[in-house]
Symmetry: C2
Subunit: 348 residues, 2 copies
């Protein structure tokens, strides 16, 4: 049972390092893949040139399988009224930091998977491609499958898992509500539908025939063992990797992850427009954690960016997305290879 | 490790049947205790005479250890304005069902643990007493401990677990957000603090020295195995017992638990005034799931009662609290003894 995922993906250990845009690049992916797990490169915040550069780096430093991850939301139509309302909501903070709102650029910050991205991927033919927020168009998906890539995507409900299987994924990631970062939800935007890993995972295992990967709340070997006991064929772990040397997590984010503050996370849309789990901080407390004023994903980001920059320059994470799952207890200053081996000791 | 709880409570199997006021009485508790688990009698909705009668029944039908459960909220001061607002919010439904709001009685419906209840308990000296919403006063707790009862209470955060240990519980129930019925939360009313079982349990295990019992999302032997892998010394399971022959769960509640509808539960305060997890139905959808208009716990209940009665008479669960955890997949028409043995097969 626990070798199904290894055979599917060509990996030694059923440990997938979760793609985490903004806190890691190719270095972490390389370390995990070389250790026998599946390293992941998050591409949502990279330009096409950035993707090529990172993939070149991966190719240069590992011959093992790796995963390339994309968001696949529909690009939003900017709404001037909503943007104005959002900036009005942020106006007191702009005043506090001496920011001229007229200087703030707009723009999405995160791009969905595209034909241009597929062109770059095709140069490298990555063995695994994972998606968040469903799947791209049938045409784009067929291109990726064309070079033999295995396809993964996240399900936050049983219905999403069934949908993903029907649309051709090779394995489903059951993303429990404990998980850090963006909820992969795509058939609903109702947060009450979101389920804890311990409840979600076995129900998805019963509902689909493809292998199921557990994500959310897993921080150590015991968590891995628990996920496998519930029928997972592998695990995807993010938060525990964020304090590894190879991650690019900021010093203040690392400090938050190791502090008592990490005990209180929440799902918030104030940083991007879509619900994502992070450590509760000032912006989440004062405007959210869920704000009706936030523009559609990913358009909320631009107006926050200068606040984040100014606050971080003062050593404050008050306006930073401090992404974290509900169990940050696994965050340690260790090499990613060591963490991967420790996590894998929960197998069998 | 997994015998710690058995030794503490004098039971053969580390399976606690969760107390579930409104859907079970002594019959279910007796069946589980006789099967070697720990049966629980929920007392929150019983009069002092009702408690005595149920305890007499338990004494008559089992010689095994059993648990008696109480809520220990502070009795609220009724607020006429809030009650009026609540009835105004419900007015369209009263009209729909031809209910005269003037005929609706007020009153709490659920009583906290009291000296009178302790008097009755003392006649029986139950070996285990569990509390929800914290603990009763030091004086009342000392009385219960006086006859040697072991004390359990639920923690929904690490901070609550530490508090309970400091205040003298013999074991902590780590209640993950997946759990059905009322959240045991008592140090906060912020729902964003609520954590999935897979994340909460290992963090509580690390934070306290007393044994930790896992609750929330556990539906079968695999779930039990997963909880033990995470460091629990036992499990408390509710939803899976609700379709047992010995439960008093209504036919429409049983049907809902076995239907696709059970895939979507939410935390709602519309039935009692405190957040509790139930299958999403009309009242939750239209007024909640969280309503600012609901009176303080448990005063929201009285105004709902006639709607529930009228709707149920028509075969509808639109106004019933259809309590359920996020994993109802374990609900089966089996004897509670058989279910208890099946669950216990996940041990080792």
């Amino acid at each position: 049972m626990t070798t199904v995922l290894q055979e599917l993906l060509g990996i030694e250990l059923p440990i997938i390092q979760a793609p985490m845009a903004g806190v890691q690049g190719s270095a972490l992916a390389i370390a995990v893949s070389n250790a026998g797990g599946l390293g992941s490169l998050p591409c949502a915040m990279l330009s096409v040139e950035g993707i090529r550069s990172e993939l070149n780096n991966i190719k240069a430093h590992t011959s093992k399988p790796y995963n390339v991850n994309f968001f696949c939301h529909t690009s939003p139509v900017p709404d001037a009224t909503r943007e104005t309302n959002w900036r009005n909501a942020l106006a007191p903070y702009y005043r506090e930091f001496g920011i001229d709102a007229a200087d703030i650029s707009a723009g999405p910050g995160r791009a969905p998977f595209s034909a241009d991205a597929a062109d770059v991927l095709e140069e490298f033919k990555p063995p695994v491609v994972s998606f968040h927020f469903g799947l791209p168009s049938a045409e784009l998906l067929a291109r990726v499958k064309g070079w033999g890539a295995k396809i993964l995507s996240s399900a936050t409900t049983v219905a999403e898992a069934v949908w993903l299987e029907r649309h051709g994924v090779d394995a489903v990631i059951a993303q429990g509500v404990e998980a850090g970062g963006h909820r992969g939800m795509f058939l609903t935007d109702d947060l009450t539908t979101q389920v804890g890993t311990l409840a979600l995972l076995p129900q998805i295992v019963k509902a689909v025939r493809v292998p199921v990967i557990a994500a959310g709340g897993i921080a150590d070997a015991q968590g891995v063992a628990a996920a496998l006991a519930l029928g997972a064929t592998g695990v995807q772990i993010g938060t525990a990797y964020m304090c590894c040397a190879e991650a690019t997590t900021s010093a203040l984010h690392r400090a938050a992850l190791k502090s008592e503050a990490a005990r209180h996370t929440a799902l918030t849309n104030v940083f991007t427009g879509r619900p994502a789990r992070g450590i509760v901080n000032r912006l989440m407390r004062e405007l959210g954690p869920i704000s009706q004023a936030a523009p559609v994903f990913p358009l909320a980001t631009a107006a926050i960016a200068p606040l984040r920059a100014k606050a971080e320059a003062r050593g404050s994470g008050d306006f930073s997305p401090l992404w974290s799952g509900q169990n940050a207890s696994g965050c340690k200053d260790v090499a990613a290879a060591q963490l991967t081996r420790e996590l894998a000791s929960g197998v069998r």
